[in-house]
Subunit: 347 residues, 2 copies
Amino acid sequence: MTIPKHGGNIYEYPKGILDFSSNINPLGYPKILEEKISKNFSDLLVYPDIDYKDLKNSVGSYLKVDPAYVFLGNGSVEILDMVISNFKRMVLVEPCFSEYRLRAKVHKLEVLSLPLGEDFKIPMAALKKSIREGDLVLLTNPNNPTGRTLSSDELLDLYLDIVEKNAYLLLDEAFFEFADLDYDTLDLFRPLGFANIGIIRAATKFFGLPGIRLGYGVFDLDMIRLLKEAELPWSINSFANIAGGCIFDEEFISKSRAFIFKERERFYGLLKEVKNLKPYKSNSNYFLLEFKGKSEEEIFSRLLEKNILVRRCSNYNFLEGTFIRIAIKTKKDNNKFLQAIKEIMEE
Amino acid sequence: MTIPKHGGNIYEYPKGILDFSSNINPLGYPKILEEKISKNFSDLLVYPDIDYKDLKNSVGSYLKVDPAYVFLGNGSVEILDMVISNFKRMVLVEPCFSEYRLRAKVHKLEVLSLPLGEDFKIPMAALKKSIREGDLVLLTNPNNPTGRTLSSDELLDLYLDIVEKNAYLLLDEAFFEFADLDYDTLDLFRPLGFANIGIIRAATKFFGLPGIRLGYGVFDLDMIRLLKEAELPWSINSFANIAGGCIFDEEFISKSRAFIFKERERFYGLLKEVKNLKPYKSNSNYFLLEFKGKSEEEIFSRLLEKNILVRRCSNYNFLEGTFIRIAIKTKKDNNKFLQAIKEIMEE
C-alpha cells in the first residue's frame, strides 16, 4: 500500500469514515455561502470577470491590502506553482507540504533542503547560511505537519538576510487564521510594500472550503507583474468568486478561532496523558503525534478498524520514527479519537 | 480603448446588456445541475477525489473512450496550456483563439503562423509543408472565429503527414457539439489509440457552463503520463465534479443541436439580406460578419448604443477588413440583433 502524499483522500475508504487526515475547520464554512450560491446559479452561464475586480477588492479588504497587491489562484497550490516557476533554486526546511518539491521538479528547480531543528524549530543559522542570491526560500507558517509558528523576530531576522542577498521569501500561510500569534505577517510587511516577500493564504482550511478552490496571495508589484504574464484566464470559478464575496465574516472568524484555541488546549492535554504518545505543541488545527512501541502501519490500521482515518507521516522527509498527523475536529469527534487511541496504546 | 482579447467581458458594460460577444449555448445548462449542487453543498467541505475517478468515468462514458485516456482541466485552457508546455515549436493557422499564442509565449515556444486561405479554408498544402519533426500543430475545429470545420478527409490527410514526421496534432474542439458533421473526431482516432493526437473539449460552451470550469481532453497514454507529471492537485472544483456527473444528458444534447442547426440556418439567411454585411457560413454557434463602408469601431459603438455587445475582431491576426463575431442566441435575441444591425447598415 502506498502512503498518500496528501490527507483527505477519503474516497479510498468506506463512506462515513471519520476523517482526521484532512485539516479543515471543524465549524465548516460560513453558511451564508449556500444561500448566495442558490440565488446566483445563473452566474455559471457567464464567464467570471477576467480581472476579478470585485473578488480582489473583497480579498484586499479582508487582508487590509491594496487589491493591486493581490493575486488569485485556483487554490493556493496554483499560486505556489506560479511563484516557484520564476526561480532556479528553492530552499526548503522539511518536513513540509510535499507539493513544494513536486512543483520544483516540474519547473526544474534545484532544491536545497534543511531538516527542522530540535523540537521542530527552524534552524535559523543554517538556513541563513545556505541562502544565495536569487533563491526562493519557501516556509510554511504555521508549519505543516508540526503546527509550529515562527516568531516575528525570527521572521524579520530571516527577511533582512533575504533582502540583503536579493533572494525571495515565500510564506505559505494556508493555516494562518488558526494560529494564536502576537503579529499578523501582513502587518509586518505591508509598510515595506511586500518587497522580496510573498504571503499565500486560502479559503481552503480556515473557511472550510477545500472543494471550492480559492487561494489568494499578496506580492509586490514586480512579482504581481510576473504572475499576471503567466496566469490562465478564468482560473477562479464563479462559485469561488461568490465565496470570496461573503465568507470573510468577522463573527465566523472569531467563533472559529475561539473554538480552535480552546479545543486545541483541551485536546492537547488529554493526548499528553495517553501512554507512549507524544503530541507536539501546535499553533494550528492539527497535531503531530509521535508514538513509541508501535509502528505507523499498526497505528494506522488499528485506527482504520475503528473507522478513523489519519495522515501517516513516513513519507515526509526528515521525520524519523513513528508519526501520524491528526486534525482538530469537533469536541465529540476528538473524544472518539482519544478513546480509540487509548484503547490501542493501553491495551 | 483596448480591444479585449476575449468575448464575454460584460463587466465593463451596463448590467443587462445583450451579450453577443460570448458564444454560450442559448439553451443554458442542463437544469438538473442546480438540484444536484443544492443537495451536495457539503461536498465543499472535503477535497475532491484527487484522482477524479467518477468524473473520468463519466467523461469517458460520454466520449466513449477508456477513462485512462481522459485528462481533466480547470477549463479547457488549462489543458491546452499543459500540452503546449511539452513542445518547442507550435504551428498555428490564424485567425484563431488568442490564448494559443499567449500560452506559447509563457512556455517559450517558437510560433510559426500561417494565414487561413481563401474563404477561411485551412491552407493544407502550405501547412503540411511547414510541419517539422516534434512540432505541435494546433487547430480549432470548428475554427473560432470563422465557424468552419475540417472535413474528415482533410483531418486524416493532415494527421498522416503529422504521424510521418513524428509531430503532434492538438485539436481544440470546444465547440464540437454545435457542428453538423458526418464524423466524430473521437471515432476517427480511437482505433489508433490517439497516437500523436490530442482532442480537447469542454463543458464551457455547449453545456452552458463557462463559470464552472470543466475541460477534458483525450490523449494517448504517453501524453497522459506527461500531463500527469505536471498536473496540480484538486484542479477541478467540487461543483465541476458534480456537473461532470449529470450534464451529459442525451435529451439536452439533441435539443441543443436541433435548435442551433435550425436557428443557424434561419439567422444566416436573414443576415445575408442585410446591406453591406457578409455573414460567413458557420458550423458552430457564432458567425463571423464582414462589413463594408463602416469601421469596426463605428459598428461596435452603434450596437453598444442599442445595448448590444459584440466581439470586435481587429486584434485577430490576418483578419484584414471590418469584422465582428456574434453568437447565435435565442430567436428573440437574434431578431433584436437583426433589427439593430439593419438600422445601422441601412440608415
